[in-house]
């Protein structure tokens, strides 16, 4: 009997320790950068200097190095908070891919507060009001989907996805409609253009020498610790884990599953809304590209980190370095633009997934004597 025999077959490995897993991930990132290097060389760019510039983000040799760090933080904080918030929902196996929409809603309502009350309140109070408006706006936008799911079992993936576009066009309507009542726009400009926020609606910064520390970074760090504790040590976190693992078991244990879903999704979406509020108050202006795609990138970060809070910090740092670094590096290389960051990000995601596979399985050579 003649039989074709494949050269390799997949064999299960023992459970890999955390050290080995971390090593696999680092190797994956390095491999992704190598793939990127090939792509760079094809375009005639010298990869070593490019990566050097990318990883240092143009800080050395800059006349205002602290300015670079400040801009980096502005990019980092929204992604970090959004990824954490998405992980919260994913832990419950609620596929919230509506980060974009919730972020826009958060930004919109924070902007609403800034434009309406901007001149009247002192800055600290104003920032708090904006944060609350953003959180509430994002939270309600998300909880709408959760309520539909609990009540009628609708599909949250579809709904959150579609509501992203609703939110985007909602914001675009205000961006492009030049009328008297539209207080979002700059009254001095003939073309429709968002107005700058009043000065007291700008995010508070803490001056440390020449460097201005954005307060939102401090808040994000605190949130990170709080969420870690919430998920791993509190009863509410325990409930989320059980509902995510098996809703039937949760019901059987006497948990009110609907209530838990609504509470958790409100929290998740409110945090994303908060990130939106921080984003606009740091920028000092609304924009239709306010999200910088964090609603999508956050999904990638949350899964790269396997929903682990520490992992999320690392992964969102890595992604932000890539994006920000590519932006700065691309100023010296006309053939490269920020899209290269997205490309690298995709390559990293794929290779990390493959690395993940190989921490659990390995290829074994099919032995000759068995193949005979």
């Amino acid at each position: 009997m003649k039989n074709r025999q494949p050269l390799f077959h997949v064999v299960k490995r023992d459970h890999a320790g955390p050290g080995r897993q971390a090593a696999a991930y680092v190797a994956a990132v390095v491999l992704a950068l190598l793939v990127g290097a090939v792509l760079l060389m094809v375009q005639g760019v010298e990869p070593v200097t490019f990566y050097k510039q990318l990883l240092t983000m143009g800080i050395p040799g800059s006349r205002y190095p602290w300015r670079s760090v400040e801009n980096f933080i502005k990019l980092f904080v929204p992604l970090l908070i959004t990824s954490m918030a998405l992980a919260l929902a994913f832990k419950m196996r609620f596929w919230n891919i509506g980060g974009e929409g919730q972020f826009i809603m958060g930004a919109f309502w924070a902007g609403f507060a800034a434009m309406k009350l901007g001149g009247t309140l002192p800055q600290p109070l104003m920032v708090v009001v904006m944060a609350l408006c953003g959180a509430l706006g994002g939270g309600l936008y998300g909880v709408f989907v959760a309520a539909l799911k609990v009540k009628w079992g609708t599909n949250e993936t579809l709904l959150t996805l579609m509501l992203n576009y609703v939110a985007l066009y909602f914001l675009q309507y205000f961006a492009e409609t030049k009328t008297d009542w539209n207080f979002f726009l700059d009254p001095d400009s003939a073309r429709p253009k968002f107005a700058k926020f009043p000065a007291n609606a700008q995010m508070i910064t803490i001056p440390i020498g020449p460097f201005n520390l954005n307060l939102s970074l401090v808040i994000a760090a605190v949130l990170c610790v709080l969420l870690y504790i919430y998920l791993n040590y509190t009863k509410r976190g325990y409930e989320i884990a059980v509902v995510g693992d098996s809703p039937n078991t949760a019901r059987y244990a006497g948990m009110k599953v609907g209530k838990i879903v609504i509470r958790t999704i409100f929290l998740s979406a409110a945090l994303i809304g908060l990130a939106g509020a921080f984003q606009v108050s740091s920028a000092g202006i609304l924009s239709t590209s306010v999200t910088n795609d964090v609603g999508w990138t956050g999904v990638v970060v949350a899964w790269l980190a396997k929903l682990n809070m520490v992992g999320i910090v690392v992964a969102s740092l890595l992604i932000t370095v890539l994006q920000f670094g590519c932006q700065t590096a691309s100023t010296t290389y006309p053939s490269i633009d920020a899209n290269f960051a997205n490309l690298l990000q995709g390559v990293i995601l794929f290779i990390v997934l493959a690395a993940d596979f190989f921490t659990r399985f390995r290829l074994a050579r099919t032995r000759k004597e068995a193949a005979k």
């Binding site: 009997m1 039989n3 074709r4 025999q5 494949p6 077959h9 064999v11 299960k12 490995r13 023992d14 459970h15 040590y233 509190t234 009863k235 509410r236 976190g237 325990y238 884990a241 059980v242 693992d245 098996s246 039937n248 078991t249 949760a250 019901r251 059987y252 244990a253 006497g254 074994a364 099919t366 032995r367 004597e369 068995a370 193949a371 005979k372």
Partner: protein, 527 residues
Amino acid sequence: MEERYAIEMRGICKSFGSVAANKNVNLNVKPGEILALLGENGSGKTTLMNMLSGIYKPDSGSILLNGQEVAINSPEDAKRLGIGMVHQHFKLVDVFSAADNIWLGDDKSGAVLKKDRYNTIGEMAKKFGFDIDPRKKVYNMAVSEKQTLEIVKVLYYGAKIIILDEPTAVLTVQETAKLFDVLRRMKGSGHAIIIITHKLNEVLEISDRVAILRKGEYICTVDTSSTGEQQLTEYMVGRKVELNIDRPVVEKTRPLLEIRDLTIRNDEGAVAIDRVNFYIRGGEILGVAGIAGCGQKELCEAIAGLRPIESGMMIHKGDNIVGLSPKSILEKGISMSFIPEDRLGMGLAPSMSVTDNMLLKKYDQSKGPFVDRKTGRAEAQQVIDELEIVTPSTETPVRRLSGGNVQKVLLGREIKAGPNVIVTAYPVRGLDINSSYAIYDILNKQKKDGVGILFVGEDLDVMIDLCDKIMVLCHGRVMGVVHAHKTSKEELGLMMTGALDLTNKYEDKPAGIARDSRIEESEEVEE
């Protein structure tokens, strides 16, 4: 000259990571022979058979078909070589007809559904002596019909070697007898048959030879005619095992849980439990027997407060529990543990640790916003020690434990809560002899402590030995409650199929209503 084997496996080894599932296993079957493959859970029976059917590949060793070495790289290869496997969980498309399910996997059938497929397959089934309607949709079929269809399917593909993985687990006594007739007929026509089972009496009844695996290792092959249950068990477990199930006699209390005129609907809205009466006393085990899907699940869910009832009464120690939340029913001391087919679906959170699963029903009782894992860990350790649960640590996800240990975790938690009524459905589902007996012991200990136990089971032999009384359900109706020591498997089987109705056996006492009921009493108090 050497004897010709239909299939022979020589020195088969297979490991998953550092776990060796099969170590140097030898196995052979002659044409026209039935070989029983016997072993405890996790002894590598299914792994071994999966290598025959092309799902896994052996790490080393060789497989010989009619004396010639072959490589089986995929299920297609296995099919071409004439090896067919009937899996424990049927591989059928529910919305297709019987004929289409067979047509689907046929290489020669082409891309078009031909009109004559019903005839072709109907005739072929008749030729082998099967009674199946080729036009019937799978979702309309009873479990035994689905199994017949699976067998017809492998025969249609021309299998000469047929592997059946625990085929009787889902069948009634009568259906099992029918299946065995079919197997004997196939044996008569020269097929080689390998049957995996836990049930020793069936092994002795149907097989010609028995091969025994223990912890992945091949122990021996013996002729069925020259062996007995005791010897087989010893081979399987590796030491002497007492094969008697105790039925301690305990002082019974007044009824703890009384069910009156209970009607429940299932998810589809059909009546699942139809005007059922029964009661459980402390210190007794009431068995519930019935064909799969005759309302056991709905009954358990209703008692635990997970499913609304249509009408009727559920009285616990004189208090009404209808309409209470699952939580308040738990607090009354009624514990329910249901082991579904996938074993993990209800009652456990599979990705969470043993500790976290111990806390499932009481995480809310500790003070403050934090989960009290210290107590949980201590309790998990206690349960692990008491029930001899095999686990690397208290922090191992339950998913990674073997079936028996998973079920012990579940039962251990339920008992730890100190319930007065235990509702347990299929607690030994898929477990080997050793683990099963450990679970019977646990239940008997609870019974001695005065707990009332409702035991929904599948194995009638076990129920007759373990339970005090057995209630038989058929299509949601009670066919009677019989004393376990006075009944027989045949009687129970007839009641399960609805052929025998014993509800009016005693004229002075309506079935399922206790003479010293607390219901009348509480009604009098109300008046």
